[in-house]
């Protein structure tokens, strides 16, 4: 049994060694694909072709339709218009399981590994070899996993606990699992976002080996340099349309950004199109200063200053550490190294209460983690200032009065303070989340993705409110992965990349393409 597994390659690898004719029939064809969610078109008449043995880079902004497309291919979205052909045969998946059976595998940005199992168990997850007695054949599993990983050029002890490996190796092992499950089309979603440069190189080496075996890879990424260095072909999505598919030769980052944001095209919103002049305030007093903040793998050596009356934007792709940074500023996470000064005083924030008392307010990216859906609006508004308006006994009339004032000034609909919060629309809920901090009069307001998922009108309202707060002298820190959010709010922009600040835009004109190019 032991010898069997180490000598005979698994069935799945054999399939891949007999690739379909690479030249004529494409491995995957998507013809005229359209998909909409509740009347909003996510994909419009997209034709996409993936050849055998190619690495196909996929770029586009958030919401451009890349993910929807890939979810259709992976059988997650089953209702769509258009046709899908694999090796020239038409298929229609009814589930992700169907897609898997047809040889389509996906590695998500959030890995689905089992950290407490060994590498071998993860590789064989769900299909462990068994011996004659029907028990798991551990020796076969270990030797099999070792051989399979070696064939990909991954040198790792299969008995290692998965969680003890660096994230780059975990990702490779998940990739290995997808490969060994027989996938001929592998979709990688942001595979390099958490990797260090050597890890990226290792991943690329493995991917080249996979390509050589005739399998096809779709490589989705915001990191255009990575796309350009590994892909054979690049496809750009914008606003649900496939803009262009082009061989990687002769194109560069600027060309890709142009195609992604469609400079000069009519389907872009006016305000984000042109150049925005940043008006930083060098003379304003520094309210918040971070020095060398470092937190685990999330971010390292972050230093910046936020000034009174200034909106500081921190831009970076999803997973670049900006979310963790925002939580650190509010005392939810405690940094491994580095320090914070608030209004000139050095602070060591041990919890969110201390952060609040030090004058910091925070609105997290997810409204659910900041609001009480079953409670009336006024209790949502008052919770963060309760300590100020009541020592022992509650004063509900005072709470209602404060809440009513905010409901009125922020144009919250319906204009009542005792409606259950869950009955409000998303945009109005977000306003309540802001209102929580308005009476608090913080020195620093930290906003994480303040306009995510809001309609244009509500976005404008939020922008106005935040502007007004800054004009009153607050230091505002806006953390976002959406360029529009940062551009529409910030007076100064820091760009984060893989946990570090890599660029600062101040007192200059900035545009979306410059922002994207810096990240």
């Amino acid at each position: 049994m032991r010898g069997l597994f180490s000598t005979v390659p698994p069935v799945t690898v054999m399939t891949s060694e007999n690739p379909a004719p690479a030249s004529d029939t494409p491995r995957l064809q998507m013809r005229g694909i359209s998909k909409s969610f509740g009347g909003v078109a996510a994909l419009r008449d997209v034709d996409f072709t993936l050849r055998a043995g190619e690495i196909h880079g996929l770029v586009g902004e958030n919401g451009a339709g890349k993910s929807t497309m890939m979810k259709i291919i992976a059988g997650v979205h089953t209702g769509y218009e258009g046709r899908m052909l694999i090796d020239g045969r038409e298929v229609h998946f009814r589930s992700a399981r169907d897609a898997l059976a047809a040889g389509i595998g996906m590695v998500h940005q959030e890995l689905s590994i089992m950290p407490d199992l060994t590498v071998a168990e993860n590789v064989y997850l769900g299909k462990q070899p068994v011996n004659a007695a029907g028990l798991v054949d551990w020796p076969a599993m270990t030797t099999g996993a070792r051989a399979q990983l070696k064939s990909l050029g991954i040198d790792v002890d299969p008995k290692t606990r998965m969680g003890d490996l660096p994230i780059g190796l975990q990702q490779l092992i998940e990739l290995a699992r997808v490969l060994f499950s027989g996938a001929r089309i592998i979709i990688l979603d942001e595979p390099t976002s958490a990797l260090s440069p050597p890890e990226v190189q290792l991943l690329f080496d493995v991917l080249k080996g996979v390509r050589a075996s005739g399998r096809s890879i779709v490589f989705i990424s915001h990191f255009l340099d990575d796309i350009l260095s590994i892909s054979d072909t690049v496809t750009v999505f914008r606003n649900g349309r496939l803009v262009v598919t082009h061989g990687v030769e002769g194109i560069d980052k600027g060309w890709l950004i142009d195609k992604m944001i469609g400079a000069g095209h009519e389907d872009l919103e006016e305000s984000y199109l042109g150049n925005i002049a940043l008006a930083s305030k060098p003379d304003a007093p520094v309210v918040l200063a971070a020095e060398g903040l470092t937190y685990g793998r999330a971010y390292a050596d972050i230093s910046f200053e936020a000034k009174a009356g200034e909106i500081l934007g921190i831009y970076g792709f999803m997973g670049c550490g900006q979310i963790e940074l925002a939580r650190t500023l509010f005392g939810k996470l405690r940094p491994d190294r580095g320090g914070l000064s608030i209004a000139g005083r050095r602070r060591r924030l041990r919890n969110t209460t201390q952060a609040r008392e030090a004058g910091i307010a925070f609105v997290p990216e997810n409204r659910r983690s900041m609001l009480f859906y079953e409670q009336p609006v006024y209790k949502n508004v008052s919770i963060s200032i309760l300590a100020r308006i009541s020592r022992l006994w509650l004063r509900p009339e005072k709470e209602r009065e404060i809440a009513r004032r905010h409901v009125e000034s922020l144009h919250i609909r319906p204009p009542r303070a005792d409606v259950a919060l869950g009955a409000l629309s998303g945009g109005n809920q977000q306003k309540v989340a802001l209102a929580k901090w308005l009476t608090h009069r913080p020195k620093v307001l930290v906003l994480s993705e303040p306009t995510r998922g809001m309609d244009v009108g509500a976005k404008d309202d939020v922008v106005k409110i935040v502007r007004a707060l800054a004009d009153e002298g607050l230091a505002v820190v806006v953390v976002s992965a959406e360029p529009e959010t940062v551009l529409s709010l910030a007076d100064r922009v820091l760009v984060m990349k893989k946990g570090r600040i890599v660029h600062e835009f101040a007192n200059e004109t900035i545009s979306k393409d410059r922002l994207l190019a810096a990240a």
Partner: protein, 342 residues
């Protein structure tokens, strides 16, 4: 609060209103049904005397349930209530002069000092629960399970299998006395219920309890010190249990090992049967009162209609199961509605 909410939500349809109030209606309907049933089944049930009886019978579990309401509203649990009660009751007896025939190495102290020491010990046990749960990060279920054993150990060490009888006069008056024929322990229960209710509804701390139970993450992101709130709830619960234990010892006339074992289930059942959400954030002392009455009427009523005493245990179990089903079912309705309304 629940009433305010439903008014506020302005839900015109009666069906929706009833469903949203199911948490409160179901236990109350159960209580009415039980009272009507036992009134018809036994002529001796529906009397003033028996009402006083029921109040006395639920007193010990009731005082524990007040503290437990705080903990469950936070979405946590305290399994050590009966054990802490037992330990505190034994501590107060340990420091009281016992009769010569009681073979315990007790340390006679003035009555007030014995009471202070007993209160200090339940406070200390509650602090251990609080530190273990919030600072160390042990889930309250496991932490208080360990405390249950620790409390039992303290009892065992102090009485060594013996039984003590004497308690300080004050404890005796409160636990076993009568005022104008009315049992004082019932009055103590009412006082605890009132203070508990006022604390939960009208103080800042009470609001924090509900908010932490309703959405712990949101409370934290609002700058509420969640750990302090949880810790305080566990300490309050332990002190309530301790008082229940002292008065219980006076009420039963003896202090011994395993004296309160049945009260853990009773206290939890009272809170949950009353409709306080096991997931936290919803319910309150009002619900606990109804839950206590359901339990009290059930226990007492089953004695009035000659029924197999072994069957009683099964019936209580079934009632508790039904309450749990309603509790979880109501929670699911809310989750689904939230997901749809999201």
């Amino acid at each position: 609060m629940t009433l305010q909410q439903s008014n506020a939500a302005a839900m015109p349809r009666t069906g929706v209103f009833l469903r949203s109030q199911m948490r409160n209606i179901a236990p109350f309907a159960t209580l009415i049904l039980l009272i009507v049933f036992f009134s018809f089944a036994s002529p001796s049930f529906a009397t003033i005397d028996n009402a006083a009886n029921i109040l006395t019978q639920i007193s010990v579990a009731g005082i524990m349930a007040v503290g437990l309401t705080f903990v469950i509203l936070c979405g946590e649990i305290d399994l050590s209530v009966a054990s802490v009660a037992n330990a505190t009751g034994i501590v107060v007896a340990f420091f009281t002069m016992q009769e010569a025939y009681v073979n315990i190495a007790n340390v006679p102290l003035p009555g007030w000092l014995a009471i202070v020491l007993a209160l200090a010990s339940c406070l200390a046990l509650g602090l251990v629960n609080a530190v273990g749960t919030t600072v160390v990060g042990i889930p309250s279920f496991i932490m208080t399970l360990a405390m249950m054993q620790i409390g039992a150990g303290i009892c065992a060490l102090l009485v060594r299998g013996q039984i003590a009888y004497a308690v300080p006069d004050l404890v005796n008056t409160l636990g076993a006395g009568r005022i104008y024929g009315f049992p004082t322990i019932g009055l103590v229960l009412i006082a605890f219920l009132v203070v508990g209710h006022v604390t939960l509804r009208y103080t800042r701390f009470g609001r924090y309890i509900f908010m932490v139970g309703g959405n712990r993450e949101a409370a934290e992101y609002s700058g509420v010190n969640v750990k302090v709130v949880l810790g305080a709830a566990l300490v309050i619960c332990a002190v309530c249990s301790g008082v229940a234990g002292m008065l219980g010892v006076a009420h039963f006339g003896s202090a011994q090992q395993n004296e309160f074992d049945g009260y853990l289930l009773d206290a939890i059942a009272a809170v949950v049967v009353g409709g306080t959400s096991l997931f936290g954030g919803r319910g309150g002392i009002g619900n606990t009162i109804v839950g206590l009455c359901v339990l009290g009427v059930l226990n007492n009523g089953l004695d009035h209609i000659q029924i197999d005493s072994f069957l009683k245990i099964l019936i209580r179990g079934l009632i508790l199961l039904a309450a749990l089903i309603v509790n979880v079912y109501v929670q699911n309705i809310r989750t689904v509605e939230r997901a749809q309304g999201g």
